[in-house]
């Protein structure tokens, strides 16, 4: 039995179709849920949590129906919303303890779990200070802590790296990865940043305009023919033409030329072509097959970063 299943899931907001006949089955792991803004990620999460009732279709979490067995589901899921959700005038410890008790943990257990979870997310003595004085990174950690405190089996994270600087982003992703691999908790990470999904997830669900676009292990997307990106200051088109003339699969992409590496000899071909044309070279680097490729045709340029 799949952990999460949806069949013909449809949600309309008036004339807007947020989800349109979505079918999916999710196995345990760290699952990336990607899509452009407005693709229906948050709507899907809210339906799984029972916050929204689908217009039609069904969804189940651990075999429990999201409409009829909402309460049972809520004991086994944790939810970290996309938006700010913390009152500023209490300390992190008090807040997370309170949330643990609302989840049904007895007083002592709530305190112990709070201390443990806050330590896990990396909050130490500052956890007694009022949340209003926290940085965005610390707030995100408190949000994750309150979602984890009742030890859920499934954790739904909506844009967990929202508003974080690059360092904070990496730390949050590392935390997500550890939560998934060390604790055996299934995470569904909704994001519009494909780069993040690539870093931490084992499985990818791509949705667009309420439809399922792709669902496969992440390795399917990243293990493909390696590509060499040759970045030049000018003359990308000539270089691509020269390489194509020599039998390489190459195409110009802005100031870069992307070449499929089919054999080792190709590196020499590229070197010679660059030298012959005397184009100003900036860098040569190997690229993995990127998830972005997925969206190149499906999504208008610029809507996915």
């Amino acid at each position: 039995m799949a952990l999460i299943e949806a069949a013909g899931l449809t949600k309309h907001y008036g004339p807007v179709k947020a989800l349109d006949g979505l079918d999916l089955a999710v196995e345990p792991g760290i699952i990336g849920l990607v899509g452009a803004n407005g693709a229906g990620k948050s709507t899907l999460l809210k339906i799984l949590l029972g916050l929204l009732t689908p217009t039609s279709g069904t969804a189940t979490v651990l075999g429990m129906d999201t409409v009829r067995e909402t309460r049972a589901i809520r004991h086994v899921v944790g939810y970290m919303p996309e938006h700010d959700c913390l009152p500023p005038d209490v300390g992190a410890t008090d807040f997370v303890t309170h949330m643990a008790r609302i989840s049904g943990l007895p007083r002592t257990a709530a305190r112990e779990r709070t201390a443990e979870v806050l330590r896990h997310v990396g909050l130490y003595e500052e956890r007694y200070r009022q949340i209003g004085g926290y940085s965005t990174g610390m707030k995100q950690r408190v949000k994750l802590a309150q979602a984890l405190v009742h030890d859920p089996k499934i954790l739904l994270l909506d844009e967990p790296t929202n508003g974080l600087d690059p360092a904070g982003r990496d730390e949050m992703l590392d935390l997500i990865k550890r939560t998934g691999t060390d604790f055996g908790i299934t995470l569904i990470v909704a994001s519009h940043l494909l780069g993040e999904i690539e870093q931490v997830c084992t499985y990818l669900l791509a949705i667009d305009a309420g439809h399922l676009l792709q669902a496969a292990p992440i390795s399917n997307f990243t293990q493909r023919t390696p590509v060499l990106a040759v970045e030049v200051e000018e003359g990308a088109d000539q270089l691509a033409a020269a390489l194509s003339a020599k039998g390489a699969r190459a195409r110009a992409d802005g100031s870069r030329v992307l070449v499929a590496i089919e054999s080792d000899a190709l590196y020499d071909v590229v070197r010679d072509a660059v030298a012959d044309l005397a184009v100003p070279l900036v860098r040569i680097q190997q690229e993995r097959g990127r998830l972005e490729d997925l969206f190149r045709d499906a999504v208008p340029a610029g809507s996915v970063q």
């Binding site: 959700c85 309170h98 949330m99 997310v121 940085s135 360092a167 604790f183």
Partner: protein, 317 residues
């Protein structure tokens, strides 16, 4: 702010005193195998947290100021009378006249505005914060329904108001007992006079609590909620009085029924029913009896509760 507090989400990097704490203290993640309580427990937890919140416990000192000052001001006349009870007795003995004392049945009528200010200050505190800072989804994705949430919040405000209303009654009772030479006889005499304070206080607490929470829940901003509540109560007190005064010269004036819409007036009238005292003609015009006001207060409280529940059913999460 220290470098650590802005840094490392990853736990091991930020152990105490910069030590590689992760390797020493990190016990790994343990799953929770213990008891999980149900809805009643969740509601109780929220009730306790709300009750603490109303009085500002667990919050900064500034949050304690408003509730304690207002509750203190409401109790002040009774406490002063208690403090000077011996002086009052001596003077009464010297002058030979019975002292004019604050009465249980008219205390709320005289000082109700202070209880109302308490609602204005603290009801938004209970329902606006969670809307303003979008905490509600965290509750609604847990073992807590919307109706249960609203019920727990309402119960906390009602209990807080009940305490506010009862403290002066207790102070009056103690003062009255101390003023008499025979304490046992005094308790026997005074207690029956004081006891209606309990049901009257309960009804007033429910009526004011439900009304102020229902009005407050319509705005996530504390200030707007407070202004809305003041505006609603002032208008509902003023409009019926104005309409009534227009037709005041007529032999019978059916506009007096409108006084049932005035929240404070109907609660004062209902208080008189519990104490069995007549309505004073200064504050109560028209032909309505205390029983009419009692019924009006109960119906108003029920309507306010329904509105509050309806509001929480409809709130987006």
């Amino acid at each position: 702010m220290t470098a650590r507090s802005t840094g490392a989400i990853g736990a091991p990097a930020g152990g105490p005193a910069g030590s590689p704490a992760g390797s020493i203290y990190d016990l790994g993640y343990r799953h929770y195998e213990g008891r999980r309580n149900g809805r009643a427990y969740a509601m109780w937890s929220l009730f306790v947290e709300s009750l603490r919140g109303v009085w500002g416990f667990g919050r900064p000192m500034s949050a304690k100021a408003a509730p304690f000052i207002l509750a203190g001001l409401y109790a002040l006349p009774a406490v002063v009378q208690l403090a000077f009870s011996s002086v009052i007795t001596q003077q009464a003995a010297a002058s030979g006249r019975a002292p004019e004392l604050l009465a249980y049945h008219s205390y709320f009528q005289n000082f109700s505005f202070l209880v109302f200010f308490f609602c204005v200050a603290q009801a938004p505190e209970l329902v606006c914060r969670d809307q303003r800072y979008q905490v509600l989804p965290l509750y609604f994705t847990r073992a807590m329904g919307r109706i249960e949430y609203a019920t727990a919040r309402l119960a906390a405000l009602v209990v807080a108001l009940f305490v506010v209303l009862l403290v002066p009654a207790i102070a009056l009772l103690i003062g009255d007992v101390l003023m008499q030479p025979d304490a046992f006889k005094a308790v026997r005499d005074e207690l029956p006079k004081a006891l209606p304070s309990i049901p009257a206080g309960a009804l007033t607490a429910i009526g004011l609590g439900a009304l102020s929470l229902a009005v407050s829940s319509f705005s996530p901003r504390r200030a707007y909620s407070a202004i809305g509540l003041v505006a609603y109560v002032l208008l509902m007190e003023a409009i019926p009085a104005a309409i009534y005064s227009i037709g005041n010269n007529a032999a019978s004036n059916p506009a007096d029924k409108l006084f049932l819409l005035s929240p404070l007036t109907s609660l004062m009238g209902a208080t008189s029913w519990f104490f069995g005292t007549p309505l004073n003609t200064q504050d109560f015009a028209g032909s309505l009896t205390p029983a009419d006001y009692l019924l009006g207060a109960i119906v108003s409280a029920a309507i306010a509760t329904v509105v509050l529940m309806y509001r929480y059913r409809r709130l987006p999460a």
